[in-house]
Each structure stands twice: as structure tokens, then as C-alpha cells.
């Protein structure tokens, strides 16, 4: 049953992808398009194979900065959401400031951070934290506020303390919101890590792609893009997997509802 269901989910997008690649290959070879304009899938594959060790080196660097930034950023978002939820008035007072952090263009922010913190790990990490904390914080806050009123009344009647109310009701009740925030943060995080690498780094996929495009090595650029996409999907899939395990009750609730 389960494997059949999974198969049904996987094969349509896989078939579409395969079809697109095929058309791409046919178009590039029949019209003799130059490789520096649009490389064929086959050329990209060959390029990936040749550059594999270096590609891996840069990918590893990108994974490291992505995970660091994602971890620190989402943790900051979580803690901040809890604090804003707990301290009366803090939410209203600080919410505009939170939104403000998202209104500074990443490019401007990157330059400023380099001016303030130099070219080390610090400016990149700060950039990623600023990108990742926001979706987690905002969706958590929404979840925490939406705790079921009748469950809150029940918990208070039987004498739950403020912290019991948080850990036993508000937090588990907002987990699906938290995961939504984590998934959005994951998608932004990889892209922002690539950008962060271009503002001051000598390793990472961002650097790899920039060097390749400066040298008109378009198939290398595509090889880099494929790694970025793979990385994003991996991180997203990882979180979705943890979500499925954590929210088993909800998966079943949805199934029962159908």
C-alpha cells in the first residue's frame, strides 16, 4: 500500500523531468547551439564528471555554511518567538522591527556586513541568520497564538503553570507552523548561502559558479546549479521527513478526514 502510494507521487514529476531533458538534448544538438550559450544535458553531465572532485570540495563548503546558518538562524527564530510570546507587550513592540530586518536588500546587507565584520565567517553567518530566523519566528508566533481556546481553559482549570502550558500545549500545537517556517527557511538558506559566498570567500558553490561564469564555462555554471538544486531538495526533504515523523497524528488525522 505505502510503497504504491509513494510510487504514484514520484513517477509523474520524474517523467516530466526526463521529458524536458530529452527535449533540451534534442534542441541543442539539432540546432547546433554553442556550448557557451546553452550546453546540452550530456555536456553538463560530462563536465560534472570531470570537475567532480573540485565540485565536491565546493559543495562541502556550501553545506557547512548552510547548515551553520540554518541551525543558528532557526534556533534564533524559535527562541525569539518564544520570548515575544511570553513577555507581555513584546510582540506588539518588536514586530515592526522584525519586518524591518527583511526589508533591507540582501546585496546592500552583504556589503554592510563586510564593512563591519571583514571577510571571515562572521558576515556570512549573520546574513544567513537574518534570512532564516524570520520565517521560523513569524510562523511560530502565529502557531503559539492559535492554541485551541478550550484546551487552554482545560489546562488552566487543572492547574497547569505557564511553562507547562507552553511545553505541553502551545508548543506541540504549533509544530506544524514551526515546520512550515523551517521549510521556507531551508529554501531561502541555500540560495542565500550561495550569495554570501560571493561576497567574500574562496570556496563554495557560489565561488565555483562565479569563476565559471567569468570564464564563459557555461556547462560548469549548470553543474553548479544542479548541485544547488540537489542541496535545496535534500534539506527540504530532510525537514519534510522529520515533519512526517513528528506529526504522525496529523497525517493520520488527514487520512481519517478523507
Amino acid at each position: 500500500m505505502a510503497s504504491k502510494g509513494k510510487f504514484h507521487l514520484i513517477w509523474p514529476p520524474a517523467a516530466v523531468m526526463a521529458g524536458l531533458l530529452l527535449i533540451w538534448q534534442i534542441v541543442t544538438s539539432t540546432f547546433n547551439i554553442e556550448e557557451w550559450i546553452l550546453p546540452s544535458p550530456y555536456a553538463i553531465g560530462t563536465e560534472m564528471q570531470e570537475a567532480w572532485p573540485r565540485l565536491m570540495e565546493h559543495t562541502a563548503a556550501t553545506i557547512r555554511i548552510t547548515l551553520l546558518g540554518f541551525g543558528a538562524g532557526t534556533a534564533a527564530g524559535f527562541v525569539l518567538a518564544a520570548l515575544l510570546h511570553f513577555i507581555p507587550g513584546a510582540r506588539t513592540a518588536l514586530y515592526p522591527l522584525l519586518v524591518l530586518t527583511q526589508n533591507i536588500p540582501l546585496i546592500v546587507l552583504g556589503d554592510l556586513l563586510v564593512i563591519w565584520f571583514g571577510f571571515g565567517l562572521m558576515p556570512k553567518l549573520i546574513l544567513l541568520v537574518l534570512v532564516c530566523f524570520f520565517p521560523v519566528c513569524v510562523s511560530m508566533l502565529t502557531g503559539l497564538r492559535q492554541a485551541d481556546e478550550k484546551l487552554v481553559t482545560y489546562m488552566r482549570m487543572i492547574g497547569a503553570s505557564r511553562s507547562q502550558l507552553f511545553w505541553r500545549l502551545e508548543l506541540p500545537g504549533s509544530l506544524s507552523h514551526l515546520f512550515t517556517g523551517l521549510k521556507i527557511a531551508a529554501s531561502y538558506c541555500v540560495i542565500s548561502a550561495i550569495y554570501a559566498e560571493t561576497i567574500g570567500s574562496n570556496v563554495g558553490l557560489g565561488v565555483f559558479i562565479r569563476l565559471a561564469s567569468n570564464g564563459w564555462e557555461t556547462s560548469r555554471v549548470f553543474a553548479g546549479i544542479i548541485m544547488i538544486v540537489a542541496l535545496s531538495l535534500l534539506l527540504f526533504g530532510l525537514i519534510a521527513g522529520i515533519e512526517r515523523l513528528t506529526l504522525r497524528w496529523q497525517v493520520r488525522e488527514e487520512a481519517a478526514g478523507q
Partner: protein, 260 residues
């Protein structure tokens, strides 16, 4: 001499309502003895749930005092076991974890809570559902779990707010006799809100009839039937006499809120 578990003296509650005020409870005095089952019956919106919120410490009375086991309640919570109108089970916890949660919040050790929960689920024939999530259970079963959760809580006083109000008539009947048998085996002090006169007569030692808002106790009725009781009671002429008696107290002549 039996101990008084709950005592209300001249309790009133007034809510601010825009520029005016809304008086919901007016000068209510009543008590529940140890091991006594007392029902509150009154028109919808008369303030029964508000009374529970005061006793539970979620709100403070405007006037008067509330004592639980002698201690004054002014905003102190956690002195009561509570069963709300809707089952209010945590959807992400299994049946047995839901019961354990209530016991742990009441201060019980995790291990002991688990043991007690499993033992009682077995006893009421729901051992097979212990790992099920609440939404997979019928409404009646959810209310059983909700009742068990209150019954196993260590507090002496149980507040049951219209626990069977949302159930269909047949399930409701089963639940009444089920609760009766459990309660008669382990007499806790119960304050029970209901809209059903039959239900109140079947279960209670005493019935307090409330008026429409602002609510006050208009009549106290001692229910004379011997225990253990069963549905056989319905054939008793006295049962019907009391029923009509209470019905007339609640009829639209006295209160603008017609009873269903």
C-alpha cells in the same frame, strides 16, 4: 460528621460590558460535602460555566468567597479535577498519554501516572485504544477518556460541565449509567452541570436549580432514591413527580429562556 469540600458564600460575578456592566452570578451560596454528588441545573446562559471558572480559579468573584477544603480560592488554580463540555483531549497525544498528562500536571510521578492510566483503561475495557489518537475514537469514547482523566486526578473535587451535552440520546444514556457505576464504586465529591432533569435525578444526591441570568439558587432538592441506582428509577412515581417539579421551576413563566 462529613467534611465540606466546596463552599460558596454569597458569590457574585459582574462583567464589565462596554459602558454598562453585566451581572451573571448573584449571591450564590452552596456547598458540596465529601463524597456528595451535586447537580446544577439552569437555563442556558445563566452562568454555570462562569461559576466553574470561578471555582477553578480562572476568574475572581466580584463579591463573596469560595473555599475548597477550607482554603480560600482567589485565583489559585489546580485544586479541582475538571471535565469540560467538549472532550478537550490533546490531538497529538495518544489516549493513555492524555490521561497521563492530566495526572502529571496534578503533580503525579510519570511512572505512577502511566501505570494508573493503563490499569484503568484495562478496567473500563479500553485497553485496546491506549495508543490510539483521540480523533480515531467515537464521541462517547472520547468522553469516557475525558471522565477517566478527571476521575484519576488526585484532587478531591470534580467539576463536570455538561459532560454528555454533545452526545446522542442513546450514547448519553449508556454514559450516564456507566458514570453512575464508576462513581458509586469510588465516591468523589462532584459538582455536575446538566440541562437534563432526568440525568440530574438519576445521578445526584442534591440538585440546585438556578434562575436565568443573573443566576441565583432558586431551589435545593434532595434526591431521596437509595443507591446503587439504575434506570429502573424511571418507573418510580416519585421520580416523575420530582421531574415535573423541577420542570415547573425552569418553565418559561419564571424564566424568559425557554427550556428545550
Amino acid at each position: 460528621m462529613t467534611k465540606t469540600v466546596l463552599e460558596l458564600n454569597g458569590v457574585s460575578k459582574i462583567f464589565p460590558n462596554g459602558k454598562k456592566v453585566k451581572s451573571v452570578l448573584s449571591d450564590i451560596s452552596m456547598h458540596v460535602q465529601e463524597g456528595e454528588f451535586v447537580s446544577l441545573i439552569g437555563p442556558s446562559g445563566s452562568g454555570k460555566s462562569t461559576l466553574f471558572r470561578l471555582i477553578g480559579g480562572l476568574e475572581k468573584p466580584t463579591a463573596g468567597e469560595i473555599r475548597i477544603e477550607g482554603g480560600l480560592v482567589r485565583g489559585e488554580r489546580g485544586r479541582v479535577a475538571y471535565m469540560p463540555q467538549q472532550a478537550s483531549l490533546m490531538p497529538w497525544l495518544s489516549v493513555s498519554r492524555n490521561i497521563e498528562l492530566a495526572l502529571e500536571i496534578a503533580g503525579m510521578e510519570r511512572k505512577q501516572a502511566r501505570q494508573l492510566a493503563l490499569e484503568w483503561l484495562e478496567r473500563i475495557g479500553l485497553a485496546g485504544e491506549r495508543d490510539a489518537y483521540p480523533h480515531t475514537l467515537s464521541g462517547g469514547m472520547q468522553q469516557r477518556i475525558s471522565f477517566l482523566r478527571a476521575l484519576l486526578s488526585p484532587q478531591q473535587l470534580m467539576l463536570l460541565d455538561e459532560p454528555f451535552g454533545a452526545l446522542d440520546a442513546l450514547t448519553r444514556l449508556h454514559m450516564q449509567t456507566w458514570l453512575l457505576s464508576l462513581w458509586e464504586a469510588d465516591r468523589r465529591s462532584v459538582l455536575f452541570v446538566t440541562h437534563s432533569i432526568e440525568e440530574a435525578l438519576l445521578l445526584s444526591d442534591r440538585i440546585l436549580v438556578l434562575s436565568a441570568a443573573p443566576a441565583t439558587v432558586v431551589r435545593e432538592i434532595k434526591v431521596p432514591f437509595a443507591r446503587p441506582r439504575s434506570e429502573e428509577l424511571w418507573k418510580d412515581p416519585l421520580f416523575n413527580e420530582l421531574k415535573l417539579d423541577i420542570y415547573s421551576l425552569l418553565s418559561p413563566v419564571q424564566s424568559p429562556d425557554p427550556m428545550k
